[in-house]
Symmetry: C2
């Protein structure tokens, strides 16, 4: 996907510039480090694309794109503390490389600095962007709290799970697109449809993540297969499998959950989830939200080509990138 | 001080209202709890006073006052984690009563919600307020980082220490006053002088805090006397004492620092700091910044009475409130 590389290179060169003061080094060095770990830059790329699609130069959306990327990285730095994660993109997390206090505080200041980028637009645009951004920021926090709460629950309903991933993941994709659309000059209705495109794409993307975690090729996923199963994490797969299970199958699921050999545990889970139709159900759900995303895009009445956004939407579901 | 009680009652009734959704309870219950622990509400009160002084009703500044109070409480929740503090205003801190993850995340969402209040003004006012607020928010984080860094240093200069307390404490008082002035209709120059009034007041206030911690009456200070000394914390007292000491006195200071009996340690420190003139030096510095604050106020050309702000400035230095 050639055009994606153009956006990506532009973003990467903007992000590799040093945006932080030298001092206090313990506050800003972790941010320099973390922001340069890379990543797909999917969210800021969506802002640039939406801006261009709405009829403006992608450069117009750079501040919005950086605000979204800063926010996303703030949430990763704090989530990594909460998950006690040692690694992020194969490198030490901030709380591991420095310490928890520094990770809390540098995350805080990164969130504050995200707002600065929004304020670089004129006052009216700023207030419009701010409303989308701040509602999203609250929702992402709520989604993260729901995710932590779910760990303590024995059962989570499908609707509660979908609401959690919508808040934790999807709304920020929607926000990135809507804000890009706004600074690109899209009318309110179209900016809202861009939001829905992103929200549905995010849901499809997260469901795909659940499926790939158990059924992907290790090389394709980039991490150990079955991580969610080994951590007894609730996913759309586990929720739909449990729902479809007979009393005997429920007992079998319970037995598998207590299995200590990781390889056997993963293989047996793959088998029973497939038998129970959970894999097929999740694939259908992923397809559904993917189509919903494309429908939202279709309803936008702008004359400009949607090819790039459609290409990106399809591209996200190959996971080669 | 009667008028102070009016502001205080108005603020308290606004803060006792429930500003948060019911769910997720683990995200919002900690905020309901923490915001109702009380406190002097000094910062939001300054916003209300500045607004009234600039010629508007105090009610006009309520959103600004709440933004400042939310920001202050966000920073307290996160600072309490960093300091591993079990108590705040005599009650369990959020990370103690819930856990660290919840304290991080509920602090995050409180910061996000502070911005919402600023956005409740018209777009131009919002952008003006935002610039003051966001610069201050960055500075408070920088001050907290400097404070943590100082714990690892064997020596801290007086200028570095003053810069740390300016960032960690004073700028938010300045910000509260400047934003109150802006929504009250003060011209830029006067709003800036209100900021300086708060900044200097904050410096005087923090230096007084250092003095009271060692030389105050326990009942007046509301905590154990000599807490800073027992924690070997750097303060303006310890920095100026060290600077004034001869080699023999430096050795004596070192010996006192290694004393294990807390009562003896505190008494000997009080004695040597007084002999070295550190106490007198700090009192003079406090006086200096207090006067600088009053000078800034004097330079404001508004015809309205400054009595209330002067009264508050003097009142803060009786610590009866």
């Amino acid at each position: 996907m050639k055009s994606l590389a153009t956006y990506s290179a532009y973003l990467e060169s903007a992000l590799q510039q040093d945006h932080f003061p030298a001092q206090p080094a313990n506050l800003y060095d972790p941010l320099r480090y973390f922001l340069q770990l890379g990543g797909k830059r999917m969210r800021p790329m969506l802002s640039l694309m939406a801006c261009k699609f709405a009829g403006n130069d992608m450069e117009k959306a750079l501040p919005v794109a950086l605000a979204v990327e800063y926010f996303h990285n703030f949430s990763l730095i704090h989530d990594d503390i909460m998950d006690a994660a040692p690694l992020r993109r194969g490198q030490a997390t901030v709380h591991e490389k420095w310490n928890t206090n520094i990770a809390i505080l540098s995350g805080d200041v990164l969130l504050v600095k995200a707002y600065d980028y929004l304020a670089s637009y004129d006052a009216d645009t700023f207030q419009q962007l701010f409303k989308v951004f701040n509602r999203t920021a609250v929702e992402v926090c709520e989604g993260q709290q729901m995710d932590m709460d779910f760990e303590q629950l024995s059962e989570v309903s499908e609707s509660a799970y979908l609401e959690m991933i919508r808040l934790k993941t999807s709304v920020l994709l929607g926000c990135a697109l809507q804000m890009g659309g706004i600074v690109g000059g899209a009318v309110q209705k179209d900016a809202q449809l861009l939001y829905e495109f992103g929200e549905q794409l995010g849901l499809a993307f997260q469901i795909q993540d659940d499926i790939l975690d158990l059924f992907g090729e290790s090389a394709q996923v980039g991490k150990q297969i079955g991580g969610d199963v080994l951590a007894n994490k609730k996913t759309l797969l586990s929720i739909s499998a449990k729902r479809a299970a007979s009393p005997e199958q429920l007992a079998a699921l319970q037995e598998i959950e207590n299995t200590t050999n990781p390889q056997i545990k993963v293989e047996r889970t793959q088998k029973i989830y497939t038998e129970l139709g959970a894999r097929a159900y999740c694939e259908a759900q992923m397809e559904y939200h993917h189509n919903q995303a494309l429908n939202a895009l279709e309803n936008i009445e702008l004359p400009n080509s949607k090819a790039e956004l459609i290409e990106l939407a399809n591209f996200l579901f190959t996971r080669a990138y």
